[in-house]
């Protein structure tokens, strides 16, 4: 009998594939060098820094009020959340009180921004998995949120609306009614996107059990936000250390079980619903009053250093602010959630297929503007 087995006799060579920075599904200018054996990823080396603008260094040369705009441009999908964290850092350092109405406006807009950010995620995640319709559904709804932002802040992105000590100006008179109508539309739109994508057999086959990470490893990598909550760790700054007025609302933290791509996806879908619950409660409770505590244009906070935490759509953001009493900060360091989440990519992509690599990277929901700063 002739031995026809070729096992161990064929020479196979690993191929190096350079994915990015121009690859369409690396969500920006992320680049990874993959060593593949056929379709299977044997090893990889992530490269970042293509969008490094030195934001932290730039902050050292700007007045406090000007830095808010730099924070807008870090995580450019959730601008308002980023503005809020910096303003909170300065307020904490100065002991500046924020009017209640401003806090409510901030919370409403930040949660709305969270919905917008997660909608974008759901759409692009669909694209990564090969479905082209969800992004259209998601963008239809996101567009309405952007119009709302435009109505309130005057800009669709890069709002510079949240200011140190409050917000730029009051919301339009018909804000409550418009928000009510918007929430109704959003709820319906999210349900539609959910029905179209979440439980499709092919989508489940592509995402279930793909890119599994356990809670301990995720914590060791410093993952946070929905990506960590998908592993079953209920870590959310809004609950752990309630800032602003978050302790006045009744909402839950969606947590996953297995820490796979599908859990990371669906945690975000559920989070949108929770965010809308927060917005509804905030709209009911919103008091009247001033929207900003007047302060000088050139702020000189006292000497000291402060670290504040906040919950961004992508995870936990932190700002470490060192002041020397001058009109410009001495050092600003941001803890970017995407940066830490992306660090785990090496762990997640081991022994997966190229097609999975795209899905897993998509499920982390990174924004390169924030990773590179």
């Amino acid at each position: 009998m002739v031995d026809l087995s070729t096992e161990g006799q064929l020479d196979t060579v690993q191929m190096m594939v350079n994915m990015g920075p121009q690859h369409p599904s690396t969500h920006g200018v992320f680049r990874m060098v993959l060593w593949v054996d056929g379709e299977r990823i044997v090893d990889l080396e992530p490269h970042i820094g293509y969008l490094h603008r030195g934001s932290e260094k730039l902050c050292e040369g700007e007045l406090y009020v000007q830095i808010v705009t730099l924070f807008d441009r870090m995580d450019y999908i959730s601008n308002l959340n980023n503005e809020m964290i910096f303003c909170r850092a300065v307020e904490r350092l100065m002991g500046l009180a924020v009017p209640e109405r401003a806090e409510y406006i901030r919370v409403i807009l930040c949660e709305l921004n969270r919905v917008a950010s997660h909608l974008l995620f759901c759409g692009t995640f669909g694209i990564d998995a090969g479905a082209m319709t969800p992004i259209m559904y998601a963008f239809r709804d996101r567009e309405k949120i952007q119009s709302m932002f435009e109505a309130v802040t005057g800009a669709r992105m890069m709002h510079n609306y949240i200011r140190i000590g409050g917000v730029k100006g009051d919301v339009p008179d018909d804000f409550s009614q418009r928000m009510g109508a918007l929430l109704k539309v959003l709820r319906q739109g999210i349900n539609e996107t959910d029905k179209l994508l979440s439980f499709s057999e092919i989508f489940l086959a592509r995402t279930k059990g793909i890119g599994v990470i356990d809670a301990e490893t995720a914590i060791a990598y410093g993952m946070s936000g929905p990506s960590l909550r998908a592993c079953g760790v209920p870590m959310d700054v809004r609950k752990d250390e309630p800032y602003s007025v978050y302790d006045r609302f009744d909402f839950g933290i969606p947590i996953g079980e297995k820490g796979d791509s599908w859990d990371r996806y669906y945690v975000r879908v559920e989070e949108m619903r929770q965010s809308m619950r927060i917005i509804e409660q905030a709209l009911e409770q919103m008091p009247d009053g001033p929207t900003i505590t007047p302060s000088r244009l050139v702020l000189r906070p006292p000497q000291g250093e402060v670290y504040v935490r906040g919950e961004n759509p992508r995870g936990e953001i932190g700002v470490y602010l060192v002041s020397n009493g001058a009109d410009k900060p001495y050092r600003v360091k941001v803890r970017p959630p995407s940066f830490c989440n992306l660090m785990a990519i090496k762990e997640l992509l081991k022994d997966t297929y190229i097609a999975d690599a795209v899905v897993i990277l998509g499920s982390l929901d990174i924004v390169l503007g924030e990773v590179d700063r």
Binding site: S25, I127, A129, F203, R206, K239, G252, I253, I255, A355
Partner: protein, 372 residues
């Protein structure tokens, strides 16, 4: 062959070429408009009425584009590849009838000829991937090879079932034998296998694995531009039309329709076209709905599900022919097997009941939330 016959043949070939080009343009428009409507967009609307001239504008743009060429490509193979994809897709139209007696050559082994030629286009895709000297193109080319070769088998087996029922491989006779009842009703299993395998042959969603934009950025075509890319594009749409046409001819009764006499050729062509476009709309509909499978899932679907099912289909058809059962029994058997297969597949893919597929809501105890 007389001079007149030769002239007629040349004219017919030109007719097919022109007709197919027009059909491709219409398909491009239809796909964009249809997908647009499914996705709450308008689709093309600025060039011509209802954007009807958009495909023409696209074609002009593609022809006018510079042909970019990487310095590392294997030039001969690189230029031959589009032709290797394009020629077989045109060749199969030699024997596809669009109405009674409206066919260039009515071959007795027509089905055999079509299958033999359609396999050839794989060579073009692999060479395109190889010659481009691009790793994504190579990956795409190999994906295409694996995918197309393995889905050829269920496709052929599904066609075999029809050929057995019609006792002919001549497409006209296959259609004529459906004058009482179409084979879609006799052999629903065969129709589903043929359609799924056809989608995979076309590389359309959910089987668009070799041109997958989000993974291999267009696969074998990634380095092609301008007119050469347009040739691939043309071939893809002609293939789509061909698979839809074959579905109509083999399973949906071709140009036959109750109450419409097939003898009038123009009417027959109309019926045929309407049916084909409806099948194509289903293809587009699937594209707008589903995500993409992974290559290993595609292979297991092909080899572990479709091939066995296609064999079962052949066996039950053979039993029906041999024992002379009634057509109803074959139809019911076919439906039962199809239902069982779909149920099993759905169970296999879901792996567990639905409650597992939700995310729990964690609400911390009040004292924990107030701390800090």
């Amino acid at each position: 062959m007389s001079a007149l016959e030769t002239l007629l043949l040349v004219l017919a070939i030109f007719g097919v070429l022109t007709g197919l080009s027009v059909i491709v343009l219409s398909l491009i428009w239809l796909e964009r408009k249809f997908l647009g409507r499914m996705q709450m967009r308008m689709g093309p609307m600025h060039v011509g009425p209802f954007g009807l001239l958009q495909p023409v504008a696209d074609a002009v743009k593609l022809m006018a584009k510079e042909d970019l060429l990487s310095s590392l490509v294997d030039r001969v193979v690189y230029w031959v590849a589009p032709l290797a994809v394009f020629v077989p897709t045109f060749m199969i139209w030699v024997t596809i009838p669009v109405a009674r007696d409206l066919v260039i050559r009515n071959l007795d082994m027509g089905l055999f000829y079509i299958i033999a030629f359609s396999v050839l286009s794989i060579v073009g895709l692999v060479t395109a991937g190889w010659a481009s000297s691009n790793k994504y193109a190579v990956l795409g080319g190999f994906r295409a090879a694996a995918q197309l070769v393995s889905y050829e088998i269920p496709l052929i087996l599904a066609v075999l079932g029809v050929a057995m029922l019609a006792q002919s491989m001549n497409l006209e006779e296959v259609v004529n034998s459906q004058s009482t009842v179409v084979y879609a009703l006799v052999q629903p299993l065969g129709l589903v296998i043929f359609f799924i395998a056809g989608l995979a042959e076309l590389g359309r969603t959910p089987f668009d694995i070799h041109p997958a934009e989000s993974e291999v950025v267009g696969g074998p075509f990634v380095e092609y531009s301008g007119a050469h890319w347009a040739v691939f594009f043309l071939a893809e749409y002609i293939n789509t039309f061909a698979i839809a046409a074959l579905t109509v001819l083999l399973f949906l009764g071709g140009w036959l329709f109750p109450g419409i006499s097939g003898d009038v050729s123009a009417l027959g062509v109309l019926v045929f076209l309407v049916k084909t476009y409806l099948v194509i709309l289903v293809v587009f509909w699937i594209r707008g709905t589903y995500p993409r499978l992974r290559i290993d899932q595609l292979m297991s679907l092909g080899w572990k599900v479709l091939v066995p099912l296609a064999l079962v289909n052949v066996v039950i058809t053979a039993s029906y022919m041999f024992y002379g059962w009634s057509a109803w029994s074959l139809s019911l058997m076919s439906l039962a097997i199809l239902g069982a297969a779909i149920w099993g597949l759905s169970k296999r893919m879901r792996t567990a009941p639905t409650p597992e597929y939700t995310v729990k809501l964690y609400v911390p105890a009040p004292e924990a939330s107030n701390a800090g």
